[in-house]
Symmetry: C2
Amino acid sequence: MPPPHVNTTNSYSKRKEINHRDFREREGERERRLYEDRSMEGGVEESSQTRIMVGVNESTIKGYPHASISSKGAFEWTLSKIVRTNTSAFTLLFLHVQVPDQDGFDDMDSIYASPDDFKKLNRRNKIRGLHLLEYFVNRCHEIGVPCEAWIKKGDPKEVICHEVNRVQPDMLVVGSRGLGPFQRVFVGTVSEFCAKHAECPVITIKRKVDEAPQDPIDD
Amino acid sequence: MPPPHVNTTNSYSKRKEINHRDFREREGERERRLYEDRSMEGGVEESSQTRIMVGVNESTIKGYPHASISSKGAFEWTLSKIVRTNTSAFTLLFLHVQVPDQDGFDDMDSIYASPDDFKKLNRRNKIRGLHLLEYFVNRCHEIGVPCEAWIKKGDPKEVICHEVNRVQPDMLVVGSRGLGPFQRVFVGTVSEFCAKHAECPVITIKRKVDEAPQDPIDD
């Protein structure tokens, strides 16, 4: 049975409903909670809300399920400076893009003997991503901000711009490590690319200087 | 007598108080209204508000006191997508930068015979700028959003970044004509410079395609 809410963008809605039902059947409690959080929107007419997409990723130091410093910063900035106490007027859309190669690294010692092993790996990665999203969704739930969260695979900067096109949020918030021009040459910046190419207003939140780890490329 | 409100940034506050008293004495009713709008802030603790600076300029087609299409767009976007009904939680800070040379053009036929003539010209330009700001301040007043507005002279992109540094808003909103790369080479874009150099989060609001005038360089 389809969920009770109605989404303005039909194809988007349909795809997500299927995704969410899929998750729920396979993963149980965690997905159910993510799903229920989604359905909170039902109480507010969606067309009247400001939909803010927030790109989030995992910590390069602690790994999953920990969020990167700049993701957390961008999220908290959005809550304190834009959403404030007007929690029902906004919907936060959390997009986590998993980089396929990078996610395989932790499994270097595993043995892959059958196609099923790869399925398990994919499933494990997805669960890790869901753990990351859970942090943001729980935080929104606590303070009563409607939200949605989903995972995509690919090159973060390209996938984010593609998802902006598809979902058409009112704005995109991305965190940035605030690297200097020299460091940027080596690591590339997702935020810079999105600010230039995403088809919606983009706001880049630089990591606070006192929150930067020893190596500023970490996050 | 100084106005009854207290501003958190002392030097900023002091300078503006002087400006406003100055205006009031010289210009009368219009400045008094701008001034009173400023003092609306007194009711809300300023440190708890989100301070959004909006760069505004005059229409290239209609001239003063008409605001440019992209300024209006950036302003209306801020109201509808961020401020929404939470009007007392935000303070809008309108900065209008006058380009000295450009403003002199209209006075090509005037005769300057004494230093006083130049003073009059300066005063006339200032009044034109105030008329522009009045539009934004009146609009805020109507819907109950606290605001401040002031004029500076110089190169818009540099002055805006300098004022961000001085006033330290939570974010800067700038409109953009949304020109293509070829057109940008000739006109330069204030928004691009600010997004790169301003020391606060910057959000660029592109002019809607259907609002663009016949020549997209106009605004």
